[in-house]
């Protein structure tokens, strides 16, 4: 602000012409500085965003309108053909959409509920509180590939732990990769094992900012712990729940590593012999790297983008109703 005043001060009388000239130039530079340098400071972010965010998306749009492929020597513009084919005559794509949403529901709903309960439990006075809080966060720092490999062994058909347990209680072993629902279940457990702790930690942090007075008042009025949880904790967590829902939606609809590594050996991108657990991102890579249809893969990517945006919006609207606007 002081600079502003300085710049606006009237020129002193009778300075030499040259000096006055420098002076006013300095002033106008100052004005320029004030006006534009804030933009310059935020520029690095936007440059990086443009290079790694806007440009790839714009380029994907362009590619999706062509028949680009390393196998074609010429690239021709095909307009909406890729999208039309994808939406109207590609059962494999819709199979992948069904799988993705199926696994998304099967993993996200229990994941967030479990996280909420875990966080609630950890929010009380406990022995070795820090230990438990650390422990639930451990799975996040393990690599997804390792998780997937270990779970693949647990769910192995012939020598797997789960089938061994089933066998020991007299049930038939399950071929986890052959049966669609079994494979979804197996993959969902991988996702949940990894992400429940992360969400619990976020909920826990939010819970600690809820004022204790509310609970005390509720307790005085005779509200049970259960009642306190649903009537105070959950409504107070609304913004946090919306955040975790949107993050889970984005992650869930882009599910890739777990189902990919669920198949060991050749043909992993197919997601099972009949595509039982092929997700949209796996199909995207299948189209791009096995079939070399880059233009078509671009269209898959954009449709996925639209689906995620839609789902996030729906989740947002649903989550807003949690506290029923009291």
């Amino acid at each position: 602000m002081s600079l502003d005043l300085h710049a606006a001060a009237p020129p002193e009388p009778g300075p030499p012409r040259a000096a006055r000239h420098t002076r006013s130039r300095a002033a106008s530079l100052t004005r320029l500085d004030l006006k534009y340098s804030p933009y310059l400071y935020v520029l690095p972010f936007f440059v990086i965003f443009a290079v790694f965010g806007v440009y790839p998306i714009a380029y994907t749009v362009w590619i999706a309108l062509t028949d680009r492929s390393p196998l074609n020597s010429t690239i021709s513009f095909v307009g909406m053909d890729n999208f039309v084919e994808l939406i109207t005559e590609d059962p494999q794509f819709w199979n992948a959409v069904v799988n993705t949403f199926g696994m998304f529901l099967l993993s996200t709903v229990p994941q967030l509920l479990l996280a909420l309960m875990l966080a609630n439990a950890l929010n009380r006075k406990l022995r070795a509180q820090t230990f438990f809080r650390m422990a639930i966060a451990m799975p996040i720092i393990t690599s997804t590939a390792v998780v997937a490999l270990i779970f693949s062994m647990i769910y192995a058909k012939d020598f797997g732990l789960v089938n061994w347990l089933l066998d020991s209680v007299g049930l038939d072993p399950i071929d986890w990769r052959a049966n669609r629902f079994a494979s979804w279940f197996a993959i969902s457990t991988m996702v949940d094992w990894r992400w429940v702790g992360y969400n619990a930690l976020i909920y826990l942090a939010a819970m600690q900012s809820i004022s204790k007075d509310m609970y005390e008042a509720a307790a005085l009025d005779g509200a049970s712990r259960r009642r306190q949880f649903w009537s105070i904790t959950v409504p107070q967590l609304r913004p946090t729940i919306i955040f975790t829902l949107i993050i889970s939606t984005i992650g869930g609809l882009q599910l890739f590593t777990e189902p990919l590594l669920f198949t060991s050996g050749s043909g992993g991108l197919s997601g099972g012999s009949e595509g039982q657990f092929q997700t949209i991102t796996m199909y995207l890579l299948d189209v791009m790297n096995q079939r070399f249809r880059w233009g078509y893969a671009g269209a898959v990517a954009l449709v996925l983008f639209v689906l995620i945006a839609l789902m996030s919006a729906i989740n947002y609207l649903l989550a807003r109703r949690i506290s029923s606007d009291k």
């Binding site: 693949s152 060991s264 050996g265 012999s273």
Partner: protein, 437 residues
């Protein structure tokens, strides 16, 4: 006045950092551009597969003979699918690929369309070497308009590997001549399998449907149409080529007879199957001997043996070495590729990992022709494989061969999982056509 100066300086730094950020992207890849004129040269060789290509000794030899050349290999342990994906991206982007790259039989056709991104090895005197390769191998490495894209390394001549200890326990013959006589045709192979299954409930006869299928298909197509999913004009003919259906039907017959161990090829379970000895035979292109030895390990030495494959000979697999145009040392890289694919180079690789030479001189060389494999009960592998290689009829593979093959393999896996063979054939046709689009 001091405030604006400091601010201005800060602005300058911010601007500078933006400029730097912008320009670093432009100068990513210009390491060791020196050397194409006599100085030290580092050549990167890209290969794939758990066993690699067995070139380690040859590199040492080449480096000793060419003191200015250093060789670095990448890709050992990488599966063909991942390798090929990466290579396709590198070739399309025009940077990142090695100086010498391996191109597999099933994928080289895809690179015909990008032949302008590869050095035409004919410019480096490759045409003089034509006589050093089996004619059909040379043809596969050459684009339709006559550019030499890659020089042949090995061929996947076929035999059948079997566990003689399991054969003995099941009351089947164990001598490799007699075993070969058990199965003049694939139908008789399945009959032998049924006999085995009746005597031995703890082991399966065949490792997986897909391995069986690929070997049968390449053999049947070699004898029949000479192509598989695409005809020679690259038209999709999966639903018209009788050879594909023949191989599919034979495979589902084998599955129905309960002979398959249902292991996904190249998976952890498949590898464990070798170690635990859960199956008695595996269709064996020459390169498979290296895989068996690597996976089954020393514990199984002497238990495996090799017999003639059912049906007439065939080929599955085998590779080429090409030089991408992105190489900064194209001349040196071409020389190295020529060395590695020479008779001497191929014999070296054969000794290291059992990849059968594609060079007629190397095939008749005593080092190959008279060779025995200690791991496989001293089987005369040179004679068994080389006999198949010389009178082979080549099979033409289309540009998206691997994608279509995966679709058919998935159907066969579904049949292994208990689905109907007829319904899965329809699925294979539909998915295969979609994959090849």
């Amino acid at each position: 006045m001091s405030v604006p100066i400091r601010r201005r300086r800060f602005a300058a730094i911010a601007l500078a950092s933006v400029v730097v950020l912008g320009t670093t992207a432009a100068c990513g890849d210009d390491s060791d551009s020196s050397g194409s004129d006599g100085g030290p040269v580092t050549l990167v060789v890209d290969v794939f597969g758990d066993q690699g290509f067995g070139y380690e000794e040859l590199y040492k030899q080449y480096e000793a003979e060419h003191p200015n050349v250093k060789i670095q290999e990448r890709g050992k342990g990488l599966g063909l699918g991942d390798y090929n994906t990466r290579l396709t991206q590198q070739i399309t982007a025009g940077s990142g690929a090695g100086d010498v790259v391996a191109l597999e039989e099933g994928t080289i056709v895809q690179f015909y369309a990008q032949a302008d991104k590869f050095v035409n090895l004919a410019d480096h005197g490759a045409n003089d070497l034509k006589g050093n390769f089996l004619p059909w191998k040379w043809e596969q490495g050459t684009t339709p308009d006559g550019k030499v894209l890659g020089l042949g390394t090995d061929v996947g001549s076929m035999a059948l590997c079997y566990r003689s200890d399991l054969f003995k326990a099941a009351g089947l013959p164990t001598d490799r001549e007699q075993v070969g006589a058990l199965w003049p045709t694939w139908d008789e192979f399945i009959a032998a399998g049924q006999k085995f299954a009746a005597a031995d409930k703890n082991h399966k006869f065949v490792d997986s449907a897909t391995n069986f299928y690929n070997v049968v298909l390449m053999q049947v197509a070699g004898q029949g149409t000479g192509y598989t999913y695409y005809d020679k004009s690259n038209k999709m003919v999966i639903d018209q080529n009788p050879d594909v259906k023949t191989a599919y039907d034979l495979t589902t017959k084998m599955i129905a007879a309960g002979l398959s161990n249902n292991l996904q090829s190249f998976s952890n379970e498949w590898n464990a199957g070798f170690k635990n000895g859960t199956f008695a035979t595996i269709a064996c292109p020459a390169w498979m001997t290296g895989v068996i030895k690597g996976q089954a390990g020393d514990a199984a030495a002497g238990k495996w043996d090799i017999a003639k494959a059912p049906g007439a000979g065939g080929n599955w697999g085998g590779s080429f070495l090409g030089v991408p145009k992105s190489s900064k040392h194209q001349k040196e890289a071409a020389e190295l590729a020529k060395f590695l694919t020479s008779a001497k180079g191929q014999i070296g690789a054969y000794k290291a990992v059992g990849n059968l030479p594609s060079n007629p001189q190397a095939l008749t060389d005593p080092a190959v022709a008279d060779s025995t494999n200690d791991y496989f009960s001293k089987a005369p592998v040179g004679k068994i494989f080389a006999a198949g290689a010389t009178d082979l009829k080549p099979v033409y593979l289309g540009p998206k061969n691997n994608a279509v093959r995966t679709a058919v393999e998935n159907s066969l896996r579904a049949v292994e999982q208990g689905k109907s063979a007829d319904e899965q054939w329809q699925a294979a046709l539909k998915n295969g056509a979609a994959a090849g689009k």
